[in-house]
Symmetry: C2
Subunit: 164 residues, 2 copies
């Protein structure tokens, strides 16, 4: 499935886009003030996205044929619905290409893909201080799951839990 609206085009990424995807991930981390957290390499990403058992899929957004953003997603499951969902891990559009509908087009693409694959939900997480994003998502019909908090065990804490 491809999606084109005037100067916009949304396409599935392929292996030769790995370097581009990594550069977008680094720009996204910078915007989220989390640059220190990026340790991914092109090899790790290639294996995760285009290896034997891909764990996620990627869309590239083009504006006037130049790549300006990406969306990285995978399937989760709702046990209450008994059906798969789509979880959008990363959505990023370069600052100079914002306001042209690229992010919106990627979300529309994912909503169509969710229907095509019989998924019950499209979900993603947003940083609480990112007010422009929150307003944008609510305008597209998304509801905030305010009563849930995500917990994480990682690094040394994960080692310690595994060795209990």
């Amino acid at each position: 499935m491809n999606l084109s609206i005037e100067h916009l085009r949304i396409e599935k990424a392929s292996e030769h886009d790995t370097g581009l995807i990594l550069s977008f991930i680094k720009e996204l981390a910078e915007y989220e003030r989390l640059s220190h957290a990026v340790v991914a390499t092109e090899d790790l990403l290639r294996e995760a996205l285009f290896g034997e058992r891909p764990v996620a899929e990627v869309l590239i957004g083009y504006y006037k044929d130049a790549p300006v953003g990406f969306a990285l997603f995978f399937h989760n499951i709702s046990t209450f619905l008994g059906r798969r969902g789509i979880y959008l891990e990363d959505l990023y559009v370069k600052p100079e290409a914002r306001g042209k509908g690229v992010g919106r087009a990627m979300l529309i693409y994912l909503a169509r893909l969710a229907k095509e694959r019989n998924c019950g939900r499209l979900e993603w997480a947003v940083l609480d201080w990112n007010e422009p994003a929150i307003k944008f998502y609510k305008n597209l019909g998304a509801e905030a799951l305010d009563e849930w908090t995500t917990f994480r065990v990682t690094g040394d804490a994960l080692e310690r839990l595994a060795s209990k």
Copy 2:
């Protein structure tokens, strides 16, 4: 991988556990005050968990050989780490079997599995009013990602977004 501690045993579920898993899901929904949201059927679950392309895996917790709880999980990805993670969608222990270490044993199992599969993180979401759970998770080394909120598009809103 199996994990046994005294009267406890944690095992991977198989297809013949589908009915049991559904009954646990319904009990969990009741505890979360979300019973109205459960529309999953045994057929839908069997397809999602044990069909051609399983989207999640399940552990069953046994106490003195009786099944008393379950954990349902799938792989997500951290683009910053460039590695897979484990996302725990559901964790449930029957009320009469709580306080015996079943939930703890399932989390330890998952932390070991995360290491075995070279995953960087173990994550899950908790309802904000579930204080006993939050205390329990923090004691096991989990950190709350307080600055993130999950957004969801589902039902009619998903239809509307797909048809934009």
